[in-house]
């Protein structure tokens, strides 16, 4: 069977909002029950300027996707460069081998000036499994590791600020 490589990626551009359905930022909208959380944060560029036109998508393998919880959502960054999702707090999920991964949410960042999707993850501060997580333990510098860890702000609200480039650059993943 002859193999054809994956079609080339192109930027989502500045006008992707034509697709936007604001309610998709609420992953619990079909009636999911569990530990409700808000995952929020800002995105900044290499100058520290807020990125106000990004498309942020999240996916979580836990709790398992179902009719009432699809595990996926999409949100814009607003005029303050902030995204915000309503979802369920994930639990640990299997890793490769016999490893267990700490609770996490996968994040895709798409925007004007981004030609191929940028990937990262949000973990949760204070989770015991963070110390054994295969990805987190791969990152030696504590300051770098902390770019993947959302911090609680008010009850039920977790914040993860993302820096695309420069000082405090977020750890991004080659998947």
């Amino acid at each position: 069977m002859s193999a054809t490589p994956t079609t080339g990626s192109q930027t989502i551009g500045p006008y992707w909002h034509l697709l936007e359905e604001p309610e998709w930022a609420d992953l619990t909208r079909f009636g999911a029950t569990g530990e409700l959380i808000t995952l929020t944060g800002t995105i900044r560029d290499g100058d520290g300027a807020l990125v106000t036109d990004a498309c942020v998508e999240i996916w979580q393998a836990s709790p398992p996707a179902s009719d009432v919880f699809q595990g996926w959502g999409r949100a814009r960054t607003d005029t303050d460069g902030r995204f915000s999702f309503r979802t369920l707090k994930p639990g640990p999920v299997p890793g490769r081998g016999n490893a267990l991964q700490a609770p996490h949410i996968a994040i895709t960042i798409l925007a004007r000036g981004i030609l191929i999707a940028i990937h990262t993850r949000a973990y949760f501060a204070g989770e015991k499994q963070n110390e054994l997580d295969p990805l987190l333990t791969m990152i030696e510098e504590p300051a770098r590791r902390s770019t993947l860890i959302a911090e609680p702000t008010t009850p039920g609200v977790w914040n993860l600020d993302i820096r695309l480039q420069g000082e405090g650059e977020t750890v991004f993943l080659d998947i």
């Binding site: 069977m1 006008y15 999707a117």
Partner: protein, 238 residues
């Protein structure tokens, strides 16, 4: 890390030069938006190999972009169709395809678009279709116009339609743009040119298709798309 027979089969790495680099100096908006630290290579877990499932009951289909608010959009009506397969040629069935584009004058129905070209009250420029069991999709729209942008002096985007695909897992997500054959702007467009491999680049250009063209009604174009395949080829799994 020891292997486990229950480990998910990873998606295959991208073929070199078939994907753009986020650090592409000719495209100005990339300058401050590309990561400079080395990406961490993450062996795929179920977080990367599984992904969302969409269906028309929750995410309704919009198959005809060429009419809105009870009227016909202005412009050249076209039918776009094709198949979505993985790298081994296997169809990607029942996957959601999102579509967005400028109108025939090159203007988006978007508050951020300040191009001095008319909006069309009968064109929104948003579509959503699903592949069938054979990975086949089809929709109706009007041919989008070219539009100016601020990247460099006298910069114009070639006629293009934007697409979003999901495929079977988080790591198969793809955002791309479809172009039209014979467009002289392609050669000058840093976004199209960002894909190093010529053959990969040219696969972003749709083909005129007389077989789907409908007499006295609409021209047809074909755009086939390939999403990532799994790491193990069928040969290796035997």
């Amino acid at each position: 890390m020891s292997d486990n027979p229950n480990d998910p089969v990873p998606f295959r790495p991208y073929v070199p030069d078939t994907q753009p680099l986020n650090d592409t100096p000719s495209y100005g908006s990339t300058h401050k938006r590309h990561p400079t630290q080395k990406l961490i290579r993450l062996p795929h877990t179920i977080t990367e190999t599984t992904g969302p499932r969409f269906s028309a009951d929750k995410y309704g289909a919009i198959m005809d972009l060429s009419t809105a608010v009870g009227g016909q959009a202005i412009g050249e009506r076209i039918i776009v169709h094709g198949t979505i397969t993985d790298e081994d040629g296997r169809p990607v069935p029942h996957t959601m395809v999102e579509i967005w584009q400028a109108n025939a004058t090159g203007r988006y129905n978007h508050p951020g678009d300040t191009h001095d070209a008319p909006l069309d009250p009968h064109f929104f420029g948003k579509g959503r279709v699903y592949t069938d069991e054979n990975g086949y999709y089809k929709f109706i729209t009007i041919k989008p116009g070219a539009y100016p942008w601020g990247n460099h002096y006298n910069a114009w985007r070639p006629n293009h339609i934007h697409y979003s695909y999901f495929g079977p897992g988080f790591a198969s997500r793809l955002i791309t743009q479809m172009y039209f054959p014979g467009d002289p702007l392609l050669e000058l467009d840093p976004i199209y040119q960002c894909i190093p491999d010529l053959a990969a680049r040219e696969r972003l250009v749709s083909k005129f298709d007389i077989s789907i063209t409908e007499p006295n009604w609409a021209l047809g174009y074909r755009f086939d798309v390939v999403l990532r395949g799994r790491g193990a080829t069928p040969m290796e799994t035997n």
